[in-house]
């Protein structure tokens, strides 16, 4: 049953994600967490893994969630699920490309979808921010913990690097090194 569930869930995610890469995050967050397959923290960790390995984020995360919840068969089901909607839709579009390109309906929907993706990712950023800065909830004591300030400092430095177009892999590596150094020196 888990296999079918993985397939259908990722089929849904593939079918409703417009715009590549992180556009998938809000849906992944919604579906994967509500199924209890993985906490948000693990998804955030996996974003780093995906940035540092080749291949599209969608395939990577589908394979990862599938493996973790249903083994290798689970991975096959979720990956097949996330690929299939695109595959079918592109085959249809390739056959009648002109009609598709000039379609007012497609253009109209896209004028709504593009800004929606921005809003949805922004909302995902808020919950990811909570997981990063306040892993045990927003409390008064969270603001006085060194973990909070160190996370904030790492975030600030990495944001500067990211906007300077430093390669994401390098950003992931530097953050990891800082994390290890800080972790051991504070004995967290």
């Amino acid at each position: 049953m888990i296999l079918l569930d993985l397939f259908l869930t990722f089929f849904k995610i593939g079918l409703f994600t417009f715009g590549g890469g992180y556009a998938m995050l809000p849906l992944i967050q919604e579906e994967v967490i509500s199924h209890g397959w993985m906490p948000l923290r693990d998804i955030v960790d996996f974003v780093a893994v995906s940035e540092s390995t080749p291949g599209p984020f969608a395939i990577n995360i589908a394979t990862y969630v599938g493996t973790e919840t249903g083994g290798i068969l689970g991975a096959i089901c979720s990956t097949l699920g996330v690929v299939l909607p695109s595959f079918i839709i592109i085959l249809i579009v390739a056959k009648c490309y002109e009609k598709f390109r000039d379609s007012g309906i497609v253009k109209g929907c896209m004028t709504g979808l593009k800004p929606a993706v921005i809003g949805l990712i922004s909302a995902a950023v808020i919950s990811i921010g909570q997981t990063v800065f306040f892993p045990s909830g927003i409390t008064a004591s969270a603001f006085s913990s060194p973990e909070f300030y160190i996370s904030a400092a790492i975030f600030a430095v990495m944001a500067v690097l990211a906007f300077k177009k430093v390669n994401p892999i390098i950003i992931v590596c530097i953050s990891a090194v800082i994390g290890i150094a800080v972790g051991y020196s504070l004995g967290m």
Binding site: F16, R41, V44, E147
Partner: protein, 192 residues
């Protein structure tokens, strides 16, 4: 005889599509649009299967169809080169490296996740990832359409997703419908 030749050439094309897209899948980091220059070099310049104009077409299609850009473009190029069989080969090729690499990594992660050093590393990485996602968000915002309707949709979808329990799917469908309705209304107004 002719029939047999067509069959072998089709098979060979399928194999070539599979291998080329496997290479693309194995060597593009970050996915999405990062894949486009690679596709251009491999498919347009080396193989000559499609033209630069086709690439623009593919990007336009990928932007207005659901799913990952890598899969969209593999399916599209595969179809152009060798029909449905070609799409299958190209898509299978682009997916396979990720699939294998991530299955392996999942195994490794499970073994090492509880190590102190790995925990610390991910503690640092999480803050870095947040920065990467915000960077991606800002570049998406720069490319997105401007105007009051867009801002309303952005604000509304953000607020609903952040402050209510409504499933993201309904927000996506709602925004598509809203976009369609406003664009039809604007077109009518322009026609008058």
């Amino acid at each position: 005889m002719d029939n047999k030749n067509i069959k072998t050439s089709r098979f060979r094309k399928g194999l070539e599509l599979f291998l080329t897209f496997m290479k693309i899948g194995a060597f593009t980091f970050g996915g999405g649009y990062a894949m486009i220059p690679m596709i251009q070099r491999e498919i347009v310049e080396k193989k000559g299967w499609i033209t630069d104009e086709d690439i623009l077409e593919i990007v336009a299609i990928a932007e207005s169809t659901p799913g990952p850009i890598a899969v969209n473009s593999a399916t599209f190029v595969g179809y152009r080169v060798a029909g449905v069989f070609g799409s299958f080969c190209a898509t299978f090729g682009v997916v396979l490296p990720s699939f294998l690499i991530i299955s392996l990594i999942a195994l490794v992660l499970r073994q090492f996740r509880e190590l102190k050093a790995v925990k610390y590393a991910f503690y640092g990485i999480r803050a870095g990832v947040l920065a990467l996602i915000i960077k991606a968000l800002v570049s998406m915002y720069k490319k997105s359409p401007k105007g009051w309707a867009s801002y309303v949709i952005m604000a509304a979808s953000f607020a609903i997703a952040a402050f209510t329990e409504l499933n993201v799917l309904y927000i996506i469908i709602g925004c598509a419908v809203f976009g369609l309705v406003t664009s039809v209304l604007m077109k009518r107004r322009d026609e008058k």
